[in-house]
Amino acid sequence: MSSSKRPSKLFRNLNAKVASIPMILTALVVFVGGTAWTVLYSFTNSKLLPRLNFVGLDQYHRLWSTSRWLVSIENLLIYGAISLVFSLVIGFLLAALLDQKIRFEDTFRTIFLYPFALSFIVTGLVWQWLLNPDFGVQRVVRDLGWTSFSFDPLYNSSLVIYGISIAALWQGTGLIMCLMLAGLRGIDEDIWKAARVDGIPMWKTYLFIVIPMMRPVFITTLVIIAAGIVKVYDLVVAQTSGGPGIASEVPAKYVYDYMFFAQNLGQGFAASTMMLLSVVIVIVPWAYLEFGGKKRG
């Protein structure tokens, strides 16, 4: 055959193709294949083992009539809104404070960012201890003489998700601050000078000039926060294990529990497909704006 003279196209640049095998396998088998598999099996009545016994949308009907799932979604929305608003606001304010040419900037930045190095498990356990009503903040304030003081978010089903959000913000705002600081440093010094010459007050310069200029930074930050919100799992497991009752359940925990404890795979698959759907709803418009726009322009 002539293959020795004219090597087949497939074998050209062979080393690069070999080096890309893990990527190709991951992309095709795990990401595309795994996702398609889970979505497909979410339409079956798989219990202990995955079986291709299609039951249409039954799993989804059951999912949306399960109170635990509804609580999970509600919690995710509250937690998401809090994370989004507060981490953006606090992150930006801290970055703006650090951007005032202050001394010890590195020290402050190191302090604000260190929680980000800790795992959600560690974060959850520390805040579980701090918010413990018998020993933590509530007890300390009561010992000071304010005996009716009450602050036990982790033991109050209507407040528990806020207690979790406190811990999440403590862990995550440092990262947002760093991203914002990088964005602020990217703003041209001359803009500040021009604003000062024109006598525009600082807060107005931030609000109407700097923040609009930082739009790309805000958008990427938003995507990062949003991706983190859907994933929230370990923090809840460590801090409350979903309690009291089911008051602090989140979708990721629902998926895990149905797949590995309740032995109701179909429910787990349906719930994880809903999680995927929520991500698609967030990501697709963003990707369209970011990348679709560039191609046209």
Partner: protein, 310 residues
């Protein structure tokens, strides 16, 4: 002193009004702006440090002191017993050999995962930057988009794959899982870095007859040590802190430290020993904290690279 100083400042002010500002900007150390600025920063910094402080203080107290006292007060009698207990004898289920088991499991998971994931991603990023082949970019885009898929969607299919290969529940399985999920961000990191390197370097080496691996090992690798350090920092903290994959893909005797920590602290049996719990929590957080404090600016660069470009 104050009387003597005021005329001169008055004169300075006059001069400044007359001739416009000149000389170095006057520094008012205790201006209202500075008090507000530093005051806010210090209060916020204290808030961020408080949990770390409480963790350390609690872990050094005995249980009687914890029951009586205030979580913020420093220990009256410092004891290291909780640390010893957390490390060596705390119980999870039937095992009573403390967190040390989880620590060593985590080491045995983290080290190979970091090496494997970085080896795969760096070679892959190099191939994508310098040896593009048809279709490579398509797979790369799938990989990056895939990074946004919630892990929950993919964990069960991976369980099946690992079970078929026969490594479900082993550390090898978990190492592979970490390498898979570290791939998108790391490949992006390395691809961007190698793309930004001067093209002439690569061409010159090609002319000299160096091949794919030769260029990678002799030129790219030595010239990109900073990005390797960034990748190592990113991976060590990420893998050490992982909980979900640990709990899904390992068994109780191979649980990583985070999973074991959670089991120790949140176990429902027995009397709660808060000082042991806090000592265990610090021990688990120690590795990423050390990485963070030692690496300093590189850590920031790592997360900025990982976050902004991801």
């Amino acid at each position: 002193m104050a009387d003597g100083a005021s005329p001169s400042t008055g004169a300075q002010a006059l001069k400044r009004n007359a001739a416009g500002p000149s000389g170095p900007k006057p520094r008012h150390v205790l201006s209202r702006r500075n008090i507000f600025l530093y005051g806010t920063l210090i209060v916020v910094a204290l808030y961020y440090l408080l949990p770390l402080y409480v963790m350390i203080v609690t872990s050094l107290k005995g249980m009687p002191e914890i029951r009586l006292g205030n979580i913020f007060s420093p220990p009256v009698e410092i004891t290291f017993e909780p640390w010893v207990k957390a490390w060596a004898t705390a119980c999870t289920g039937l095992n009573c050999d403390g967190l040390s088991r989880g620590f060593w499991n985590s080491v045995r998971i983290t080290v190979p995962s970091v090496i494997l994931s970085i080896a795969i991603a760096s070679v892959n990023g190099y191939a994508l930057a310098n040896w593009r082949f048809k279709g490579a970019d398509t797979f790369f885009i799938i990989l990056i988009v895939g990074a946004f898929i919630p892990y929950q969607v993919m964990i069960y299919p991976i369980v099946i794959i690992l079970r078929e290969i026969g490594i479900y529940g082993t550390l090898t399985g978990l190492v592979i899982v970490h390498s898979i999920f570290g791939m998108p961000i790391l490949t992006l990191l390395f691809r961007n870095y190698f793309t930004s390197m001067p093209e002439e370097l690569f061409r010159a080496a090609r002319v000299d007859g160096a091949g794919f691996w030769g260029i990678y090992l002799r030129i790219m690798l030595p010239m990109s040590l900073p990005i390797f350090v960034v990748a190592i920092i990113l991976q060590v903290t990420g893998i050490w802190n992982d909980f979900l994959f640990g709990v899904v893909y390992t068994r109780p005797d191979t649980y990583p430290m985070t999973v074991q920590l959670n089991n120790i602290v949140n176990s429902v049996q027995g009397v709660k020993e808060y000082n042991v719990n806090m000592a265990a929590t610090i021990l688990t957080g120690l590795v990423p904290l050390i990485v963070y404090f030692v690496s300093g600016k590189l850590f920031v660069r790592g997360i900025a690279a990982g976050a902004v470009k991801g």
